[in-house]
Subunit: 488 residues, 2 copies
């Protein structure tokens, strides 16, 4: 890029940030019911535009139609769920402490009323692998809008036209529903994304992608004169531990389930279980090797495909690793399902090389002789989005193993599964999609589910305020009917 | 420090971190009722040791006995309040989503159960100005313990003996109550604090102090291979806006209230209102100049006193600033009450120089002719812990001004007051002690009040788990009787 073009890009980004900041102030000040109505109008418009959007998405992402249609459905469901959240008002966490002259801390308690308010304009870095659900109209946008913030999306380079098309549908629907202009805007290009992240008007940012990219942006967000919260969802290996009795009783079901989980969406999911622990000489291994899997097919884009080939080649060249399924023919173009194989002792000898995410339809199968090695391996894990236990409830040995694993995995992962596979992240109230670093840069939050709205809110207390000047949610008589916690 | 002594210090810090980490695991696994019982035992023991602790505090901090006694009372009240929080269980934010085959996102909803779990060992950097309430047994320690974490406190250099004495009382009480050893440990020295902050076993840190010191530690926390949440409470000017009618009707009361707020604790409070906006030629000015104030007296320690003299001297040398009260005699040893004076236009011309925190009994009084300048000034503020409006509810002009100010101040500050002064931060459910940077490094959280516990917790979801392996708080039948949000 020449300097001239850089200048133009910088000016364009500044303009976009300023426009979104103006929209954010208007949006924050509006009634909660309007927020809900606008978000539902956006969902309806996206559903109406499904055919065109899915056609564009197919051209840009190599994802099949059914997968894209399902993802768009998930996306509009998610928007409507956040509309419900905005309208319900519990997300404001309203707390009212009435004056108390006898408050036992030694001084009278004043009238204090606390609620969460919008944090301000949010910058969302879209992901490659969910062109709808983690992109322009995705979960971060839904949560930020419901919280009362306008959104600037840095589009992913894997689907630029779809990003613009989605933004156009949103803008038109939002405008018709009476929302401010520029409620959701899109910018393109890494340089512009970084410029936006450094702009003082941006008050929070979210990201879904690689460890290297996410950490670089996290560092930029923290190096600002005014650092801002940066909610990065980076990398996760998602270990799955198969206990001995389950492995012997349900070998086929387990192997098929695992293969389904690592090949769905061609393995390009942040919750793909990339590490499978199974008993040595278990019949699970034979099914993993021989069962039918989807045909080889190209990955989302050339960069991801290259990363898959390089990561898997490197791991397959490790002296302790052999090939269980696939190999040079599947670590290729187009990639097929590949399973590498090693033992738990080898992983414990070299965890940095062997516990590593490879994005695509592949996994490292790790055999163990002694179940005591599983907690040992769990202890050396970095932070994870998920950890899975496959075990039989009526087998004393499996249960004893699980009782040892669960507290260790609770320290390591945001979601722990029992006899289910971690891909397919349901959007619900109790979902947790997050975890200690490097799973995320913000282990106290979630990136999926209704609780994710708190990332885009900050608390404010009003002390001794006259009712007429209080926000409606904090007034006596509760005019909005939102939940109010009074005197604890 | 020679290398040998550095090595010894590093080894001591490593040992302390390891001991606290071991205690944290045991503490996290124990029943909530035990947590509450131990925390109450600690509070009782501190109350019993009050005489000795206060004597030591007086020797080290130059704070008067009544202030220290009040602060200790606040501290033990705070511990007991957090014991209640630990026992009540609402802080776990339990959410249970039962399986739903018809969940409208296009795939069945699994059984998902989410709660908050302890984040892990917490490092607390103690403050100088509250040797009890923001130190070894202070609010961060209370919140971290109630959340289920052991605590390593980096003692403030202003009261090292009191820090050790407080830790000894805590340890003895905790041990007698059956808590693990090393539940709360103390280290000394900046170098050791930094080493602890870099230790991988530490999972969160909190800090109360200066912008320079807090930012340096924030940067270290974020530069770790595994970055951790850093909850820093740094600096705040705490502007107070006096509306015209209030100023003319209640001049004496306002001036006396302001003087009380900036001289209490000798002005060494993070919520001291350092900037006062008053109408030009208001009678408030005469009272500010002439009313009685406490005698000159030394500040907490020589470093703080030197900072006061330097900061105030620098501001008083600004071409647009004159002296309203005090001057070279009060900007001295020991410091007396000092009020500098300028106009709102001058502040708007040079906000960086004039809107700046000076820790100690001083304030900048700013006159305005045109109330329209107040929102203009509010807009240039950095993030604040508090902002205060003094106005008369039955005066249309004051109310109109307030209606303009409140939304601007809501963006800038964590707590907004009406006709009360911001010093004296009540420990309650609805308290908010925080704000955008540089007030804090974590604008989505609070450092005071029961909501501060969430800083030391992280969410975990359990999917499809058998009841016997679930944490008690998530089980069907609700054996603990904690609040459970079911299906939203």
């Amino acid at each position: 890029m020449t300097d001239d073009r850089s200048d133009v890009a910088a000016a364009t980004t500044r303009e976009a940030v300023a426009a979104v900041a103006a929209a954010s102030a208007t949006w924050a000040a509006g009634p909660y019911a309007d927020r809900a109505r606008v978000i539902r109008a956006i969902a309806d418009a996206l559903d109406s535009a499904a055919d065109d959007l899915i056609t564009t998405a197919r051209e840009e992402t190599r994802l099949p139609e059914a997968r894209l249609a399902g993802e768009l459905k998930r996306t509009t469901f998610q928007l409507r769920l956040f509309a419900d959240v905005a309208e319900d008002g519990a997300f404001l966490d309203v707390r009212i402490d009435r004056p108390d002259a006898d408050w036992p801390m030694g001084a009278p308690r004043p009238d204090l009323r606390r609620m969460l308010v919008p944090i301000g304009p949010v910058l969302v870095f879209a992901a490659s692998n969910f062109p709808f659900a983690f992109s322009v109209a995705g979960g971060d946008t839904a949560a930020a809008l419901a919280a009362g913030n306008a959104v600037l999306v840095k589009a992913h380079s894997g689907h630029p036209r779809l990003s613009d098309a989605t933004a156009a549908v949103i803008s038109s629907a939002a405008r018709s529903a009476g929302a401010p202009d520029d409620l959701v805007r899109v910018i393109h290009g890494t340089e512009n994304g970084v410029a936006a992240l450094r702009d003082p008007a941006i008050k929070a940012a979210s990201f879904t992608g690689s460890i290297a990219g996410g950490r670089a942006l996290f560092d930029i967000a923290n190096a600002r004169p005014e650092p801002i919260p940066f909610y990065g969802e980076l990398g996760s290996v998602n270990p799955a531990f198969v206990a001995p009795t389950a492995a012997s009783r349900r070998a086929d079901e387990i192997a098929q389930g695992y293969l389904g989980s690592i090949t769905g969406s061609r393995g390009q999911l942040c919750t793909k279980p990339g590490l499978l622990l199974v008993p040595a000489e278990s019949p699970v291994l034979a099914t993993l090797r021989d069962a039918e899997v989807p045909d080889s097919a190209p990955l989302l884009n050339d960069r991801i495909q290259q990363g898959f080939v390089e990561g898997l080649t490197s791991m397959s060249e490790h002296h302790a690793v052999s090939v269980l399924r696939g190999g040079s023919d599947s670590i290729a173009d187009p990639p097929g399902t590949t399973l590498l194989f090693t033992t738990v002792d080898e992983v414990l000898n070299d965890p940095d090389a062997l516990i590593t995410e490879v994005f695509g339809p592949a996994g490292l199968v790790v055999s163990y002789e002694d179940p005591e090695k599983l907690p040992e391996l769990a202890r050396v894990l970095d932070g994870q989005l998920t950890a899975t236990i496959v075990a039989d409830e009526d087998a004393a040995g499996d249960i004893a193993l699980a009782r040892t694993l669960v507290p260790i995995l609770t320290e390591k992962a945001g979601r722990i599964l029992w006899n289910q596979w971690p891909t397919g992240v349901s959007v619900t109230h109790a979902q947790q999609h997050g975890g200690p670093y490097p799973a995320t840069t913000a282990p106290t939050t979630t990136a999926v589910g209704t609780a994710s709205i708190t990332r885009f809110l900050r608390p404010v207390s009003f002390q001794n305020f006259p009712g007429a000047l209080l926000p409606d949610a904090l007034r006596d008589g509760n005019p909005l009917g939102f939940p109010q916690q009074i005197d604890g």
